[in-house]
Symmetry: C2
Subunit: 200 residues, 2 copies
C-alpha cells in the first residue's frame, strides 16, 4: 500500500490507524495542489491510498474503514452491524460537519474572510453536540476506532483558527487523552516535523 | 421507523431508498431550524431516523447504509467488501465535496455572497471528476445504490444555484436517467408538492 499524505492534513488519520495496526505502508508526502499530484488523484486531495492491486481509493471514510477491515486484529472498527452503523455516523459527522463545514474552511488560506466567519458561526452547535457525547468518555465508541483518529486530526487544526476548544472542556480533555496515545503521539511528532520543515 | 424530513432536503435520498425497497416508514415533515425539532435532533438537521427500538440515527451516509442493510432484498448496497468500500467512497464524496463544500452553501439563504462565490469556485474540479465517472453510466456502481439516491438529491439543488449542469452533459444525462426511475419520480413529485405548499 502507498499512502499519499500532506503533513497534518486529514491524511494523518490513516497514518495513526496504520500505527495502531502495526502495519507498514509506503508514505508519500505530496503537495495536494501540485499538478503532478493531480495525476495520482484528479481531485487534488489527500489521503489517497494505492492498494496492493494498484487501485486507488480516496475519501477518508472509505480509506479508514478499508484499513480497519484490512487489519481486523487491531479492532479499529466495530464488526457488529450496530457498531458499524454508529462508526459510519461518526465518520460522516466528522467529515461533513466538522471537517468540511467548519475547520476545512478555517485552515484554507484561500477562503475569503466572510466564508471563515460563516464557518465559525456553524461551529458552536456542532461542538456543543460533540462535547455532550465525549463528556466522560475517552473514545467516540466503546473503544478506540478510526473515527477517533479522524476526529483528533481535525480538532488539532483548531490551534490556527478562532475556535478555542477551552470553551468545551470535555472536548479539550478528549483531545488531551487522545494525544497521549502512542500511535497519535508518534504520528503527530513526525508530521509536525515535516510541516515545520515545509514552512521553513 | 420514523423518518424526519424536510421537502427536497437531503433526507429525500432516504425516501427514495425506502421506495426502492418497497418499505414503509412514518414520514414526518419538519422545519429543521425549529426549536421543537432540536428536541429530536440537537443538530437541527435532517434526515433523522428513529428506529424501531427508539434509537436515533443521523447522517446520510449512516442512515442510507442502515436502510440498505435493513432491506437486503432490494440490493441498495453492495454486500461484498470491495463494493461496500466503493459505496462508502461515493457516499463520502457526495456528502463532503458536493453537499457540504458546494451545494449546501449555495442553497443556504444565510450564507454570505463571498461564501457562495467560494463554493462556486470549488464546483468545477469536483463536477469534472464526477462527469468523468458517470460518462456512459446510468449508476455510480454497477447497479442502482443508495449513493445514486443521495447524488440525485444533491444535484437537483443545482437549479437554484449558479451551477448549470449543462456544462457537464454526462452528469445531465445521468440526472435525466435517474429522474425517470419510478422511486425517484414518486419521491420528487411528492416532495415538490410539499415544498411548493411551504413556499406559498
Amino acid at each position: 500500500m502507498k499512502l499519499y499524505f500532506s503533513p497534518l492534513a486529514c491524511s494523518m488519520a490513516t497514518r495513526i490507524s496504520l500505527y495502531e495496526a502495526g502495519a507498514t505502508a509506503e508514505l508519500i508526502e505530496v503537495e495536494p495542489s501540485d499538478a503532478a499530484y493531480a495525476r495520482v488523484n484528479p481531485l487534488g486531495q489527500v489521503p489517497a491510498l494505492v492498494r496492493d492491486d494498484g487501485s486507488l481509493l480516496t475519501e477518508n471514510a472509505a480509506i479508514l474503514q478499508y484499513v480497519a477491515d484490512r487489519f481486523p486484529e487491531a479492532n479499529l472498527a466495530p464488526r457488529d452491524a450496530e457498531g458499524r452503523t454508529r462508526l459510519q455516523q461518526w465518520l460522516s459527522f466528522i467529515g461533513t460537519e466538522l471537517h468540511k463545514v467548519v475547520f476545512g474552511v478555517l485552515v484554507d488560506k484561500e477562503a475569503p474572510p466572510e466564508a471563515k466567519k460563516y464557518a465559525v458561526e456553524k461551529a458552536q452547535r456542532r461542538l456543543d453536540w460533540l462535547a455532550a457525547h465525549v463528556e466522560g468518555r475517552d473514545t467516540l465508541l466503546d473503544r478506540f476506532s478510526v473515527a477517533d483518529a479522524y476526529l483528533l486530526t481535525v480538532l488539532n487544526w483548531s490551534v490556527v483558527t478562532p475556535i478555542d476548544l477551552k470553551k468545551w472542556p470535555a472536548i479539550e480533555r478528549y483531545v488531551g487523552k487522545m494525544r497521549a496515545r502512542p500511535s497519535v503521539a508518534k504520528a503527530m511528532g513526525e508530521e509536525m516535523t515535516l510541516y515545520a520543515r515545509r514552512q521553513a
